[in-house]
Amino acid sequence: MLGLTSDKGWDELGKHFLETEYDIVRVRQVVRNHAKELNMGIVDQTRITTAVSELFRNMYNYAGGGDVLVETGIVDGHQSLIVTCIDHGPGIADIDQAMSDGYTSGMGMGYGLPGAKRLVDRFEIQSKVNEGTVVRVIKWK
């Protein structure tokens, strides 16, 4: 996971396997509960929940699912909620294109990546064609 923020000293809050559309709902509720436990405000809870919902749907639609790691720790001096989505799907050939607003893939839906990025404090993505994609979103408390 070259280039992703170091996870040294972070505490793991949970690991979740996502493979059905029910899991999208279940795991985003788990993320919201963690945000609540961190005493995030209602708007930030909604932002991180919505951002991960977009990411989970991508994993489900394009990669058939994946793993979600939820952690907490200090990032940029802030107590943060860190959600990492790891899939072994087709990967994204052109990340810049996928990150641009209005970009729509063949399935008729945008990746939702630029939107998700605007909802969090840090957004990191790595992808390799035919190997998979890792997206990490970080929300400060």
Partner: protein, 130 residues
């Protein structure tokens, strides 16, 4: 997970010319799409002129649910019915704007009563034009 819970339908109530739907659960994609077609079928069956969708308990609206709601508004409008989304939580509204999701053709109202007034006004104006 319990499949009965997953397959639960969202009830649609008809009052006068309007359909009233209150979304009380965090919808998975299939349930959202099912609700969309359920409402359109109900418009056809009852000739309803308006649909009020209460989302006051929804804690988030992502792009999928947002697209479902605006898609439904366009479809309903082709069937001569207006859709009003009522009771969106402030945090949801903020997030939707930041997400960059536009919901063309979707009317919103603060609460059920205001939404109902909006639809009644619309109906009166239509009658007037005729």
């Amino acid at each position: 997970m319990n499949t009965a819970m997953h397959d639960k339908r969202i009830p649609i109530i008809k009052i006068k010319n309007f359909l009233i739907v209150s979304i009380q659960v965090d919808m998975h994609d299939r349930l959202a799409l099912q609700l969309q077609s359920q409402i359109l079928e109900e418009i056809e069956k009852t000739g309803a002129k308006g649909v009020l969708i209460d989302i006051s308990v929804l804690e988030m609206v992502d792009s999928f649910i947002g697209r479902m709601l605006s898609g439904m508004a366009s479809m309903a409008s082709i069937m001569d019915a207006a859709v009003v989304i009522v009771g969106m939580q402030p945090a949801v509204a903020i997030t939707l704007v930041e997400l960059g999701l536009e919901m063309p053709g979707v009317d919103t109202a603060l609460n059920m009563e205001k939404g109902m007034e909006m639809l009644e006004r619309r109906l009166r104006n239509q009658e007037f034009e005729l």
